[in-house]
Structure formats: C-alpha cells, structure tokens
C-alpha cells in the first residue's frame, strides 16, 4: 500500500505540493514512484523558469517507462533539487523528503483545486 503523507496537497497526476509561506515544494507521491519502478533520471527545469499549472515541466524516467511531470501549481522556479541529478533513486527511497522544485507561487488560489491527503488516498484506491 502506497504511503500518503498528511499535510500535503496532491494532484491527480500524482505530484504533491507542500506550501511554506509564498513558496511551494513539489515532488511525486509514493504511489507514483512505485508505479514507475527504479528511477534512473529526472529531467527538471532550470532556476528562473516559469511553470504553468496543468502543463508538463519535466519528466521522470525508469528503465522501461517515462512519465511527464505535470505542474500542480504555477510559479517561478526558485530552487532545483540537484541531488536528484546523480542520485535519482532518492525518489524511490523517500519521495516525500526528496522534493524536486521549490517555486514561488503565482496564485495561491490554485491550491484549492488540489486534493488533501484523505481525498488522494481515496483517489488512488
């Protein structure tokens, strides 16, 4: 059974968002990493780029699959977790500690359309 961390917001495309003031951290859920299998590469945008809710901002690759990352919120990329460059397996080991991007939120109201932990757990069935 995939772990769903409480206190986070989730998208139907299995990204999570953790809000800290005007910033948000973005990662993928335990369910997502489990579906992908061994992650071998993470393709992320550069600092300063703008990501738009609902559009893809990168991709996660395993040996036999690749999955687009869909932005759960819009905003400017403040920081990228560069540890994932050399050790993408961190996403398998702990997908909630190992965030991908820190973005400056463009519109906090976008968070309302995301699921809370309970709703996401039900969504994953």
């Amino acid at each position: 059974m995939a772990k769903v961390e409480t206190g986070l917001k989730y998208a139907e495309t299995h990204e999570w968002v953790k809000v800290e003031g005007e910033f948000a951290f973005i990662g993928i859920s335990d369910y997502a990493q489990h579906e992908l299998g061994d992650v071998v590469y993470v393709d992320l945008p550069a600092e300063g780029e703008y990501i738009t809710k609902g559009e893809d901002f990168g991709a996660v690759e395993s040996t036999k699959a690749a999955s687009d990352l869909i932005a759960p919120v819009s905003g400017t990329v403040e920081e990228v977790n560069t540890a994932l460059d050399d050790t993408p397996e961190l996403l398998n080991e702990d997908p909630y500690t190992n965030w991908m991007l820190k973005v400056k939120l463009a519109d906090a109201a976008e968070l309302d359309s995301l699921m809370d932990a309970a709703a996401y757990e039900a969504f994953c069935g």
């Binding site: 393709d43 395993s62 040996t63 036999k64 699959a65 690749a66 687009d68």
Partner: protein, 441 residues
C-alpha cells in the same frame, strides 16, 4: 508447396481442425467480403533460383559499368573481403533488434564497439547505434538543436553542404516549423562574416557546417564554435568520417554534435544505400540524442555484458514525446564499418587518405595542365576537388560516360567535381586524362 512455406495439405487440414475451421477462407470470416481480393495479382510467374539469377543478370546488362571518379559524399573506396564474409554470418544478418540481451550479446557488443569508434573519430563522448544515412542524421541533428535550445526556431546550414544534405534537412524542417537559413560562402568555404551576421538575430538554435564541403575543400572553422556558443546555439559538424583520420576532429573544432554518412568507411556504393548515418555529441546532450544506444553493465552473476540503454528517450516508450521516431536503423552497416575500422586501424585510415589525396592532386594537376580547366579555389583538399571547365561540362561528362568513365559529378554548366580514391589505378587516372584531352572542347 513452396520451399519457404513448409505446410503439406495434410498439415493444413489438421491445423484447420484444431482451430475449428473448414478452410483457410474461414480465417478471414471477420473481414467484410467486399474486401477479400478476388482478382488476379499482377505479378510475374514464380521463378526458380536459376531463373532469378538470370533475370537479374539480364537487368544488370542495362547498367553501364563505369570507372568511378564521382564523389559528392559517396566514394568508391576499397572494401576488405573480410567484411562481407563476416557480415553475412546469419547470426548477425538474421537477428532482430537486440531486445533479449541474453541471446544478443554479439549485436550489442559490436554496436558498443561502433559507438566507441565513432567517438574516437569525432572526439566526442557519446554516439548512437546509427541513423539511416548522412542527410537524415543531419536532419535529426537539426531537430536536436531545436529541442536543446528552448524557444529558438532558426537553424543555419552552410551553403557548402552537399545538396542532398540540405534538401533532406529542409524537408524535415518544413514540417516541424523550423526555419532553415543558408550561410553564404566566400572563396569556396563557409563565410565567418556571414555566420556572425546571421547569428545576431538571437533566434538561432543550431549551426551546421561541413568539415569537407561540396567542392572537396577542407573548411577552416577557426572561431566558429565560440561565435555559435556565444549566441546560445549548438555547433554541428557534418563530416566525412574517413577524412577524420587526418583532419581536425569535430571536437577539436569545438562541435557539440557531429553527423555524417559512414559510406566512405568501406561500404560499397550500391546506388547510395544501404550506408549508415552516424551521430555523436557531447555528454551534455546525451538525453536528447535520437536512436538506440548500447551501454555496458553486469548481469546478475556479475558478468560484464551489454544492453540497450536510455530507452526512455525512444518511441516505444515516449511515443509522441520521443527524441525521434527512429527504431530500425542500419545496424548491420554499423557492423560493416566497425570491421572496416578494425582492419584498417588508425594507420590504415591515414594511408587511405594519403593515397587518395595524392592521386586526386595528381589528377587535378594534370587536368589544369590541359589548359581546359581553371581551379574553383586555391584552398586545400583531400580526395575531391572542383574545377571550372572551359567548354560544356555536361557534354564532356556525357562523352566520357560513353567511354565507360564516370568523370566526376557536374555541379554547374561549367563546373565538375572529381573524386579519386586509393582504388583508382594510375592507368585509370591517365585514361581519364587522355579521354578528356581527346574530347571536343
């Protein structure tokens, strides 16, 4: 009964019984009757092997055998007999793409060797398992440049590239929305000033120039890479791989990507195909590289082995987001080239270039001495050179063709490009010179 279809009538009956059908037609009961083809197939009568042999030998008499002085990207170099012998081994020839690494280590290892040799020749760090041919590899390099530099839509290509390369690049680009602009030439080579001016638009994603151009001239790309990189674009060298034994490598010119056609590495002309395209790049662009890539790893018992890797870039996983749609490439030709490069080694490849070059210079000097030609440029060349002819180039070419000599390729009403490889003997070269002297001006 046919030798390739082993079913006896009894086999067919038994098998139909098993699947619960009365006739072979029943297997198509789900196909609307109107689509079952009932007409005659307009095909020749089936032939025996001897008849087929005779059929093609007859067809072959309609081709004129010619002594080849033509180049323009396709060269009549020598082919060691070991190569066709080994590449015809059916374990290589009749295998599919190495999807099951446990029973495909032969294919996977030679592709790894091929990649290593392409890296050695180009000086770049990464190579794929091959593309269809040089021009399509060039078109893919253009795609790669656009994909690697967001929001830029122009790719500059040298006007001195081979026409086939430019035309395939333009074809691909016209459908993907990439704008192709040509960089003008000056004195037979890509003009640095024209390049610098074109880069100023800020829209340039990539720049492609030939190491040896359509006039046979060895291009000098001093300063190109810095200018291209300063504009935030990828620098792509289109190369004749054979010449890389002696000429500055793409890496030495500062290229990010190198592409070209492997035909000059001992592949027979065969009317232009099959050859192979090659594509190498800096490690930074590894994930943007199209096509198959083989990597080393270990199996579960720790044995060294090889697999298709980084497959998440490819069409069968990424579908419309793949780096390219390519799947089958020219694998057996990669084996061909790998064996060629193994046999020749670094010294052999230099030998091939030096002998071809010496013969080409001899021919060039002799042709100029006839007084009928003038040089197009005084720039250095290896095995191919362009001359302007005082008379009608087409008429001269035709007159020599009638004598069984393929006197280069006519690239203008008064301009011919001649190529000479190590395969041409002194007698053949002198015969060409004599025939030209005799031809009506």
């Amino acid at each position: 009964m046919h030798p390739y279809i082993p079913h006896t009538p009894d086999d067919i009956r038994k098998m139909l019984d098993t699947v619960g059908m009365k006739s072979l037609d029943d297997l198509y009961a789900d196909v609307p009757q109107e689509y079952i083809y009932k007409g005659d197939y307009d095909l020749p009568d089936a032939m025996s092997e001897d008849e087929i042999r005779r059929f093609f030998e007859d067809l072959a008499t309609r081709n004129v055998k010619m002594t080849c002085f033509a180049g323009q990207g396709w060269y009549d170099h020598c082919t060691p007999s070991v190569i066709p012998y080994l590449t015809q081994r059916s374990e290589f020839l009749t295998a599919y793409t190495p999807y099951q690494p446990e029973i495909s280590q032969g294919t996977l290892r030679y592709i790894f060797e091929f990649q290593s040799m392409v890296c050695a020749l180009t000086g770049l760090e990464v190579s794929n398992a091959s593309m269809y041919d040089g021009p399509t590899a060039a078109a893919e390099a253009v795609r790669m440049a656009v994909a690697s530099t967001r929001k830029k839509d122009v790719v500059l290509i040298a006007s001195t590239l081979l026409p086939q390369v430019k035309e395939v690049v333009r074809t691909y680009a016209s459908y993907s929305g990439t704008v192709i602009e040509e960089i003008a030439e000056a004195e037979g080579q890509t003009s640095f000033e024209a390049l610098a001016a074109a880069l100023a638009s800020g829209r340039v994603a990539g720049v492609m120039v030939p190491n040896v151009n359509r006039y046979g001239i060895i291009e000098d790309h001093t300063g190109f890479a810095d200018a291209v990189h300063a504009a935030g674009a990828l620098f792509i060298e289109y190369c004749d791989p054979s010449t890389l034994a002696v000429l500055k490598s793409p890496a030495e010119w500062g290229a990010d990507v190198a592409v070209g056609d492997g035909q000059s590495l001992g592949i027979p002309l065969c009317y232009g195909g099959p050859t192979l395209g090659f594509m190498a790049c800096k490690k930074d662009y590894l994930r943007k590289l199209p096509g198959r890539i083989v990597g080393a790893t270990t199996d579960r018992d720790g044995k060294r082995c090889f697999v298709l890797t980084l497959q998440a870039r490819e069409q069968h996983i990424r579908r419309d987001k793949a780096t390219s749609n390519i799947c089958s490439n020219q694998s057996l030709m990669a084996l061909w080239v790998t064996i060629y490069l193994s046999l020749l080694g670094p010294k052999g490849l230099v030998d091939v270039n030096e002998r071809s070059s010496a013969s080409a210079h001899y021919l060039c000097d002799q042709l100029l001495a006839t007084g009928r030609f003038t040089p197009v440029s005084d720039k250095p060349f290896l095995k191919e050179f362009a001359l302007d002819y005082k008379g009608d180039a087409h008429a001269l070419h035709k007159a020599l063709a009638d004598k069984g000599i393929l006197a280069g390729v006519v690239i203008g009403d008064h301009r011919i490009c001649f190529a000479v490889t190590e395969k041409r003997t002194r007698e053949e070269i002198d015969c060409l010179i004599k025939a030209i002297k005799k031809a009506a001006l």
